[in-house]
Symmetry: C2
Subunit: 384 residues, 2 copies
């Protein structure tokens, strides 16, 4: 046994490790984001890069000061009024959690009772919409990271929009990692967060809002200033913001977006698929049980597995002895699963092999015999 | 004429310049604020330092991810229900603006029609409360920075609490610069912002909430997750947060608070008074008209004046030629006033003389003859 030395490595499904370029952007000279006209331009640059990332030209896109939870609440607040029937695609902790927000705003959530280890079946969504004729809003989580379950957004979005309902998508853990076509698929509202695949610090939420969602928000007429689309439309139209923007976080986000586009979206998306493959194959090679039932229903940004020891023990050894931070889970899955985040800069040979090596070494320390060489061999092959 | 060279200097009434120690804190190693138990301790340190800064042991204090506007809205949302009568102390842009939030949440704002160049007269507040017997909530801005007008919080708070009404105080521009006794004066809710005298980047709002305000929020039962005191009480009680905290901003805020307490509060408050005196005397020595009618009704954190040229022109020259950023004003005062922020690190000989020198030089460039030597002489004397 030796005393841990070296940099610590974060492999959680957000907040992620911050790449060096993001850290440098955080330490950039600041002025006053309200008064420096260059800041408004810089904000717009970030907005434009986000729009390209999620495939929207027609939607509005705001970067707000608040964690993604703010965006999720705002999406519901602006779409749901007392009595609104909302179909909640509930195949995960976050997916099911939408029902609470819907109730908070007076809506009537309809749960589907889905299997948490599989992607939501688009045909089941279609049948539910057929059955529940007056559904006006549908909520879906693209990557439900507490279980690492992944939904086929394209198929569901097309079904929902063809029926004239408004789709709210939690894409917090997929923006920057996966192909998104906001306009093409007919998404109503899409929410993102700075601290996930975008590799910036937590503190910004991203709101993409279709024209239909904007119209609906006017109709709903929710009385809030901080969560209002209209307030943002008004202020941005005049070249300003409704409140002072967190400039350092916007600098960080913008630099990260610049790097993502520099790499090129096809490469970014492919790299995340490779990371998923590497982590799944590596964990499987160590004989560990993966939670998502298939590769296609596993998020490209995180993988959850059932370790043969309590997840908290595994995490403690990995962190204290090897300086590698992986995650546990939440809600009903707490205490059952461990998770490796492979999003943004973490979706790389470097981070993924580090995570697998630390999981393997920690399991051995805890008395579980695993084949780490085979795991790393599989991971390396997945990245080639 | 020469091309500007050197560091730019920000002297706006928030966001402020970031001291070197804050910038270093921003570039600190990050882990995962949800999973690293050290982060919870660090957040608590910041909370404890804030509590000492505003004089509360009995109140709850939360640091939220959002700009101070979020805190102002939350204070109203948690205290006002349809029909609630709210006395709005309206001697400034922000003071008067509270009425809009009150209406948004169904309350009935009662305006006082006060003079914007003077502190609100506590006796007038008392008379208004006498007249409007069913006032349940009073709103007050401590430092109304768009005009730099300063209210005597202690006197007003004691009157309001003696009548059993709930006082909501916007102390965004005074926390960290001025003596505050949250418990002793009987304040209900106090809102702060990271980017003002606390010299951290924008993005955090500070909510101090009395037991009475907590009780009232339960009674009001506002349906929001992001703005709920109860949600925070519940999560903090379990050693966690309702959403991922913006760790880098908390690091920055904590380091700034550490420096403030290291200096010692009596010195901090005295330094802000000296800065106010220096700026007022310096501007007066240049023959410029100050907006607040007296030193005692001028914020310790900002000073507003009427330049003999359009404020935008003065600001443009100061920024483009001398690299010094001062502010204009807002709302009905837009186009009339220029403002110098002297909060936090800006409340120093260094920054204040820089601002006066840049204002003087810019006015000369714009054809106004001013005695800059006399202005700087007066400023230096005020700091001795």
């Amino acid at each position: 046994m030796y005393r841990r030395y070296g940099e610590r490595r974060v492999l959680t499904p957000g907040p992620t490790a911050l790449p060096q370029w993001v850290r440098e952007a955080l330490a950039k000279e600041t002025t006053n984001p309200d008064l420096d006209p260059q800041f408004f331009q810089l904000y717009q640059d970030a907005v434009d890069m986000l729009k390209r990332l999620i495939g929207t030209e027609r939607g509005a896109l705001y970067i707000w000061a608040g964690e993604a939870m703010l965006g999720l609440e705002a999406a519901v607040a602006n779409a749901v009024k007392p009595g609104t029937k909302v179909l909640v695609v509930d195949n995960g902790v976050y997916g099911s959690g939408f029902a609470e927000l819907v109730k908070m705003y007076g809506g009537r959530p309809v749960a589907m009772g889905l299997d948490w280890r599989r992607a939501a079946d688009p045909a089941a969504v279609e049948r539910a919409l057929e059955r529940e004729k007056d559904v006006e809003v549908v909520t879906l989580v693209h990557c439900d990271t507490p279980s690492a379950v992944y939904n086929g957004l394209e198929e569901v979005a097309k079904i929902v929009s063809s029926r004239g309902a408004l789709l709210i998508v939690d894409a917090v853990s997929s923006i920057g990692a996966d192909r998104l076509e906001f306009d093409g698929w007919g998404v109503g509202v899409m929410i993102g967060g700075s601290q996930k695949a975008l590799n910036a610090p937590p503190g910004l939420t991203i709101m993409a809002v279709s024209r239909a969602a904007l119209d609906r928000s006017r109709e709903v007429g929710r009385g809030s200033y901080y969560m209002s689309y209209e307030v943002w439309e008004e202020w941005l139209g005049r070249g300003g913001f409704p409140y002072t923007m967190p400039d350092v976080l916007v600098y960080a986000l913008r630099e990260s977006l610049r790097r993502i586009h520099e790499e090129g979206l096809p490469s970014v998306f492919q790299r995340h698929r490779a990371a998923r493959e590497a982590v799944r194959r590596g964990l499987a090679a160590m004989g560990l049980e993966l939670y998502p039932a298939c590769a296609e229903c596993n998020c490209p940004t995180a993988t959850a597995f059932k370790p043969p020891v309590p997840p908290a023990e595994l995490r403690r050894v990995a962190w204290e002895k090897y300086g590698v931070l992986i995650a546990g889970s939440w809600g009903p899955l707490e205490g059952q699963l461990a998770r490796i985040g492979h999003m943004g800069v973490q979706a790389s040979l470097d981070y993924v092999t580090t995570a697998l090596a630390a999981v393997g070494a920690s399991l051995r320390d805890l008395g579980v015999s695993v084949d780490v060489g085979k795991a790393l061999e599989a991971a390396v092959e997945a990245f080639r």
